[in-house]
């Protein structure tokens, strides 16, 4: 049962992964990413990590992917790739590098002890993770909350920069050559 489930999710996740990388349109990539995320959520359940699986669905699939899609819609057609600028890496070179790297990872993975006894009851539940979070990891947890706040403030600040005082137009589709790069810096 578990093996079957893992096989299905693995295939779906791999397909999604290839989709993310290979899709021409960003929105297709986003959908493929969603597929990967959901498949992995199932795997987390298989690995006795209910809380993480739930978070995966809520935060990743629910929030992050939605955000991506939102931005893709915002940027509309220009979110794709332009004509090749010539600065890219040779695809073959990238392929070789990635292949080598993947093989190395697989070799490492193959060396790992194969199985473990069934976990203690309650392992990976929300209570279990929560106890760790509010116990031993209280300080990092609080720091994470601060980080979230900083991220929020940062996003707001970046968003505000788009509309400087005295500039009535919300955006500048045709950026003037002088001001644009300076502002981006």
């Amino acid at each position: 049962m578990e093996a079957v489930l893992f096989g299905i999710t693995a295939v779906l996740a791999l397909a999604g992964g290839v989709g993310v990388v290979a899709a021409r349109q960003p929105v297709h990539s986003a959908l493929a990413l969603l597929l990967v995320l959901l498949s992995l959520a199932v795997d987390y359940l298989l690995l006795a990590a209910q809380f993480i699986a739930a978070l995966q669905v809520i935060v990743y699939a629910g929030a992050i992917v939605v955000l991506f899609v939102f931005i893709i819609m915002l940027l509309h057609t220009r979110s794709g790739e332009g004509p090749r600028a010539g600065a890219g890496l040779p695809r073959a070179g990238a392929g070789v590098l990635c292949g080598l790297f993947g093989l190395a990872l697989l070799a490492l993975a193959a060396g790992v002890r194969e199985t473990a006894p069934p976990p203690a009851p309650g392992f990976g539940t929300i209570q279990d993770v929560g106890r760790a979070l509010f116990g031993r990891y209280l300080l990092p947890f609080e720091a994470a909350s601060a980080l979230l706040l900083i991220g929020m403030v940062g996003a707001v600040a970046l968003g505000k920069r788009l509309r400087p005082a005295g500039d009535p137009s919300p955006g500048r589709p045709q950026a003037p050559p002088a001001g644009g790069p300076a502002r981006a810096r």
Binding site: A87, G88, L89, G93, A94, L97, C98, L100, F101, A104, A107, L108
Partner: protein, 647 residues
């Protein structure tokens, strides 16, 4: 004896007071303070002399330690005085002549607006010089030694807005400082040898610490003598003294004739215990002295500038003194120092009176026939000139003859011959100067190039040179009286050294202090003494007669163009120094400046450039493209993985 400290302290107080407040006071107050302090120093010296006279001859030496000045580790140098016959004799000469010249200066500098500065410097000089002669050890003496050098610099460059004066001051300071390097090294060596520089302690220990003729004694004596050649303007460091005549004439009289330049002679006499252990060094002293005597006398022959004639004369006479101490005639060296102080100060003051009358003119070719118009000045100059030439019965006769006979009796016949020839030249140049200034009609010496003129300040007559019909008169009493006093001293000074039976008063006074010169081989008979004196006198008279024949009667014309040229360039010594010392040093300094910029800093800047260049190469890696960074990171990760897997 502690009162002796007041001798330098009085003028020092005068310096402080006049230096700080002089500009706010009137000129009279400044003059009174300046002269009063020096007269007070003279009075204290007399009192100390009286105290010493009251003691038995063997006990006339007292050390006065004020406080520990420098004291650390093995180096101890207290600030202390040594009051003994020698230092008191010198203090009397210095403060006495100094007081007269201070008084003379009141008249001479009457027209100068910086009189407060002038007298402050002069007082500082008196304090330094008195400290120099009274100091109880070499390090303390060095305070005075450098102090007089400083005042010499300040007073030569007194009219500092005139470039020649400023340059002459710097030259004097630097040349004497070059000699002082020797003096300093001598102090260091004295510390190494004796562990102290106290004069009495060194004199006591010289016999045991310094092997006779050993390298330590010779090195110490020669190093100190190097200091003396600088300060006393001997070969080869005499070059600053003629230029020093840029200063006011009373300064030339006091510092550059009567007192400071004799410091070297005093120092050698003070250190005679060391010199006695170094016969070689004594020979060097005597030879340098004799050579300087004849060289400077010859250089004075063709000099057109009155003050520079006197300057070369001073160098020459100092050579006599060194010849004297070089043959071990300590007290005769001091005797000539004293009589020279009298007559040379007199000559300078008389020359100053001439200049005062002529608005600062010093070129003898623009003078002439002044005897009638300046009778008192001419008389004073004549007295000084006769003493300088060594004519009986003036002081110079006795002291010079003493040195000549010492040299002869010490077996240094060659040196005696040289000195005798120098005596003839001396009579020649001073008689020539007298003739040009006072006897011959004006314009006799063909108007040469302009430029022999003292500072613009003493402008009594308001014009320059001897203008026909100008009002030329003897100086005011405040200047005449010191000249009279010095003339009197010049007349009577011989009594200090000459008596029916030698040794004279001065020699007996200094006697207990000074070990007899080791080099005096044989006491001459009275007859040979008289013969020597007659020889000296004959040479002097011959010189004067020759001048009379050449310049006044024009009976003789012995003029060689080559000799003239060589004399006019003073044997090219200065040109040699300019080419062989000054120019190379200047070139090295410039080269070092360029070297510092180009090579040392260049190396540093080059390193910075190299790092910058390396950075410029490496920055190509920073393409700015995200994927390049990612790929590089991936390569790095792969390398790490490979390392872990195969390690």
């Amino acid at each position: 004896m502690r009162a002796a400290i007041l001798i330098p302290l009085f003028p020092l107080a005068g310096w402080v007071v006049n230096g700080l407040l002089g500009d706010r006071w009137g000129r009279r107050a400044v003059a009174w303070v300046a002269c009063g302090t020096v007269v007070a120093a003279f009075a204290v010296s007399l009192a100390v002399l009286a105290r010493l006279l009251a003691l038995p001859p063997g006990a006339r030496s007292a050390a006065v330690v004020l406080y520990e000045w420098i004291g650390t580790g093995s180096v101890r140098a207290p600030l202390g005085l040594l009051v003994d016959p020698l230092s008191v004799a010198l203090a009397l000469v210095v403060s006495g002549v100094g007081a007269l010249i201070h008084i003379y200066s009141v008249g001479y500098m009457a027209g100068d607006e910086h009189i407060a500065r002038y007298f402050a410097y002069l007082n500082l000089f008196m304090a330094s010089m008195l400290w120099l002669v009274l100091a109880g050890n070499l390090v303390a003496m060095f305070i005075g030694w450098e102090g007089v050098g400083l005042c010499s610099y300040l007073l030569i460059a007194f009219w500092f807005t005139r470039p020649p004066a400023a340059a002459a001051g710097v030259k004097a300071f630097l040349v004497t400082r070059l000699g002082d390097v020797g003096f300093l090294l001598g102090i260091f060596l004295a510390f190494a040898v004796f562990g102290t520089t106290d004069f009495t302690a060194m004199a006591r220990a010289a016999g045991s610490r310094l092997p006779l003729g050993g390298p330590a004694a010779t090195a110490l004596a020669l190093l100190l003598f190097l200091g003396a050649t600088g300060k006393s303007a001997q070969l080869p460091l005499y070059v600053w003294l003629p230029d020093a005549m840029e200063g006011p004439t009373p300064v030339s009289a006091l510092i550059h004739a009567a007192t400071m330049v004799t410091a070297g002679v005093y120092m050698i006499v003070r250190m005679h215990a060391v010199y006695l252990r170094a016969p070689l060094a004594l020979d060097v002293v005597a030879i340098v002295g004799a050579a300087t005597a004849i060289f400077a006398a010859a250089a004075a022959l063709a000099e057109p500038d009155l003050k520079r004639v006197l300057a070369y004369s001073t160098i020459s006479q100092l050579g006599y003194m060194f010849l004297g101490v070089g043959v071990g005639a300590w007290s005769d060296g001091i005797f000539h120092l004293t009589s020279h102080a009298f007559f040379k100060a007199l000559l300078f003051l008389a020359a100053g009176a001439v200049m005062h009358a002529l608005g600062g003119e010093t070129d003898m070719r623009r003078m002439g026939g002044l005897a009638g118009r300046l009778p008192a000045t001419a008389g004073a100059f004549a007295v000084g000139a006769l003493a300088l030439a060594g004519i009986w019965p003036f002081a110079g006769f006795f002291s010079k003859e003493a040195i000549l006979s010492d040299a002869f009796r010490a077996g240094r016949v060659w040196l005696w011959a040289v000195a005798l020839a120098a005596a003839g030249l001396t009579a020649l140049y001073i008689a020539r100067a007298f003739a040009l200034v006072f006897v011959l009609p004006p314009g006799e010496g063909s108007a040469g190039p302009a430029g022999c003129r003292e500072g613009d300040a003493p402008r009594a007559a308001g014009h320059r040179g001897l203008a026909p019909g100008a009002e030329v008169a003897d100086p005011p009493p405040v200047m005449r009286w010191p000249m009279g006093a010095l003339a009197l001293l010049t007349l009577l000074g011989g009594a200090l050294g000459w008596s029916a039976a030698r040794p004279g008063v001065l020699a007996r006074w200094l006697g207990p202090l000074l070990a007899p010169g080791a080099l005096r081989s044989s006491e001459g008979t009275h007859g040979s003494e008289a013969a020597l004196a007659a020889a000296g006198l004959a040479v002097a008279v011959a010189g004067i007669v020759l001048v009379w024949l050449v310049y006044v009667r024009r009976a003789l014309r012995v003029r060689s163009q080559a000799v003239q040229t060589v004399l006019a360039h003073r044997f090219y010594v200065e040109d040699f120094y300019a080419a062989a010392v000054v120019a190379p040093v200047r070139a090295v300094a410039r080269w070092a400046g360029g070297f510092d910029r180009a090579v040392i800093d260049g190396a540093v800047v080059g390193l910075a450039r190299a790092i910058g260049g390396g950075g410029a190469v490496l920055r190509r890696l920073q393409s700015g493209y995200l994927r390049h960074y990612a790929a590089l990171a991936l390569v790095g990760v792969l390398a790490l993985l490979a390392y872990w897997m195969w390690r």
